[in-house]
C-alpha cells in the first residue's frame, strides 16, 4: 500500500495529477489516499521530494 511520509511531503499536488485512479486528494497541507489506490507507484516515482513509498501491509 501507499505510505505518505508526512515529514517529507510538501503537499504540492504533483502526485494527484498523475494518479490514474484519482485516488489521491490534497486538502491544503494534507494528502489523503482513498481506498481505490492500487499501489501502482506512479505517484511515488514522480514525487519531486520522495515523500511517497509503496510498502507491504506489514511495514505500515
Amino acid at each position: 500500500m501507499l505510505k505518505v511520509h508526512r515529514d517529507i511531503c510538501g503537499y504540492c499536488g504533483c502526485c494527484v495529477s498523475v494518479c490514474p485512479e484519482g485516488a489521491l486528494e490534497l486538502i491544503d497541507a494534507y494528502l489523503s489516499v482513498e481506498k481505490n489506490c492500487t499501489s501502482c507507484g506512479i505517484c511515488a516515482k514522480v514525487c519531486p521530494l520522495g515523500a511517497l513509498e509503496v510498502v507491504n501491509e506489514k511495514q505500515v
Binding site: G13, C15, V18, C19, K45, V46, P48
Partner: protein
C-alpha cells in the same frame, strides 16, 4: 455563499479569477470556491510572464511585480552562454511576478466586480443529474452544502480533480509531468534583469533549470524534470541541490516549494454538459516553457464569455459550450501550444552534444519580438540542418 449561482468557479487562481470577473461583468452571478485558506499561497510557480501577455489583462503594478526583465540567457549543457535581448537594447520584455499578491489582486477585482468568494471551501463532489453537471458539494470546515449552478467552471489547477469526478480523464502521463522544486533564494550573485535557463541531461533531464530574478540578489531558483526521469536518488530536489551547492553555495533559501507542471497536450475536450475546464486543469500550460499564467487567464475569461452566451440562450449542453473549446484551440495561444508541443518533443530527444551545437550556433541574439517563436525561428535560421530534422514542423513555423 448562496446556494445557487449562474456560474460556480472551482479554484481561485488566475483562471478562476478571470472566469468569475468576466461572468459578473456579463451580468451573471458567480462564486469562486478556493480550498486553501488563502488566495495565492503557497505559490507553486516560477512567476515569469511576457510583457505583452500581461498587459492584455492588467496594467502592471509594482505591488505585485518583483522584477522587470530586459533579456534572457540560455546555458548549454557544456556551460556555453547564449544571450537573448530585445532588438531595442535595454527595453522591458517581461516580468517576474509576486504571485501571492498578483493572485490576490485578480480575486479582489473579481470580488469588486460582484463575484462571491469562499475560501477554505473545497468542492468535494459534483452535483450530477442525468450526466449533466448542475453544481458542486462544497465542504467548508467539515460542513457540506450544495451549491447549484447553470455552469461549473473547473479551474482547479494541476490536480484537476473536479473534471475527473465529472468523467473527464485529466490524468497527466508520467513522462509529461514536470516534477519540480523551487527555492526562493537571497544573497546570490545574479543579473537581476535576465531570466536564465540551464539545459542538459545532467542538469535537468527532459526539462530545464531556471533562475528567475526576484530583485537585487534574489531569485526563484527552480527545476523541472520529466516524471519519467525521476526516482530515488535522482529526483528534482536532488538535481536542484546539486546545482545550488555548485552555483550559489552561500545563498540563503527563504522558501522551499515543490510542484508539478503538465507539459502534455491539452485535454481532448474542455467542455461537458454544464461543465467547462480552464487553465492548468485543462492542461493548457505551454509544453515548451511550462508557462501557464497567461493561458490560464485567457481560457478563464473565454470560458465565462461563452458561458454567458449559453446561459442567455438557456442551453448549457456540451454542444452549446463547444465554441469555447474551438475558440481557444484556434487562438494564437492554442496554436502556440500545439507548435510548442512538437518542439518540446523534438528537443527532449536530443543528446547534450546536439543541444550544445544548437546553442553554440549563436552567442547573442537580438530578437525583434521577444518570444519563444521568434527564438525558435532564429535558431532554425542559423542551423539550416534543423529544417530537415524538424520536417513539417519547420515548414509550419515560417
Amino acid at each position: 455563499m448562496k446556494n445557487r449561482y449562474d456560474v460556480l468557479v472551482i479554484g481561485g487562481g488566475p483562471a478562476g479569477a478571470l472566469a468569475a470577473k468576466t461572468a459578473v461583468e456579463k451580468g451573471l452571478t458567480a462564486c469562486i470556491v478556493e480550498k486553501r485558506p488563502a488566495i495565492g499561497a503557497p505559490v507553486r510557480c516560477a512567476e515569469g510572464i511576457g510583457q505583452e501577455a500581461l498587459n492584455e489583462f492588467i496594467d502592471p503594478d509594482p505591488c505585485w511585480i518583483s522584477a522587470e526583465m530586459t533579456g534572457a540567457g540560455i546555458i548549454a549543457p557544456d556551460g556555453f552562454f547564449m544571450k537573448l535581448e530585445s532588438e531595442m537594447a535595454g527595453s522591458k520584455v517581461g516580468y517576474v511576478l509576486d504571485r501571492k499578491f498578483f493572485d490576490r489582486e485578480l480575486v479582489w477585482r473579481a470580488a469588486n466586480a460582484g463575484a462571491d468568494v469562499a475560501v477554505k471551501s473545497r468542492a468535494s463532489a459534483p452535483i450530477m443529474e442525468n450526466g449533466v453537471v448542475k453544481g458542486a458539494k462544497i465542504d467548508f470546515c467539515g460542513k457540506i452544502s450544495k451549491v447549484h449552478a447553470d455552469v461549473v467552471i473547473a479551474a482547479d489547477g494541476v490536480e484537476s480533480k473536479f473534471a475527473k469526478w465529472c468523467g473527464v480523464d485529466t490524468t497527466v502521463p508520467v513522462r509529461e509531468i514536470m516534477s519540480s522544486v523551487q527555492y526562493v533564494m537571497t544573497d546570490i550573485d545574479i543579473d537581476q534583469h535576465s531570466t536564465i535557463f540551464y539545459l542538459g541531461n545532467d542538469v535537468a533531464p527532459e526539462g530545464y533549470l531556471w533562475v528567475f530574478p526576484k530583485g537585487e540578489r534574489a531569485a526563484n531558483v527552480g527545476i523541472g524534470i520529466s516524471g519519467k526521469k525521476s526516482g530515488d536518488g535522482h529526483r528534482a530536489k536532488d538535481y536542484l541541490d546539486k546545482f545550488v551547492k555548485k552555483t550559489f553555495p552561500h545563498g540563503k533559501t527563504i522558501e522551499y516549494i515543490p510542484g508539478g507542471v503538465s507539459v502534455c497536450r491539452p485535454l481532448d475536450c474542455t467542455v461537458a454538459d454544464g461543465l467547462m475546464i480552464a487553465g492548468d486543469a485543462a492542461r493548457v500550460v505551454d509544453p515548451l516553457t511550462g508557462g501557464g499564467i497567461y493561458n490560464a487567464m485567457f481560457t478563464g475569461r473565454l470560458a465565462a464569455e461563452v458561458a454567458a452566451e449559453c446561459i442567455g440562450k438557456g442551453d448549457v449542453s456540451k454542444k452549446s459550450l463547444m465554441p469555447y473549446d474551438k475558440a481557444w484551440r484556434a487562438s494564437k495561444m492554442g496554436k502556440a501550444i500545439e507548435r510548442n508541443y512538437h518542439i518540446k518533443e523534438y528537443l527532449i530527444k536530443q543528446p547534450d552534444e546536439k543541444l550544445n551545437d544548437i546553442i553554440h550556433s549563436v552567442s547573442k541574439l537580438n530578437l525583434k519580438e521577444f518570444s519563444t517563436l521568434t527564438l525558435i525561428k532564429e535558431i532554425i535560421r542559423v542551423n539550416p540542418k534543423l529544417v530537415l530534422e524538424l520536417g513539417a514542423l519547420a515548414a509550419s513555423l515560417r
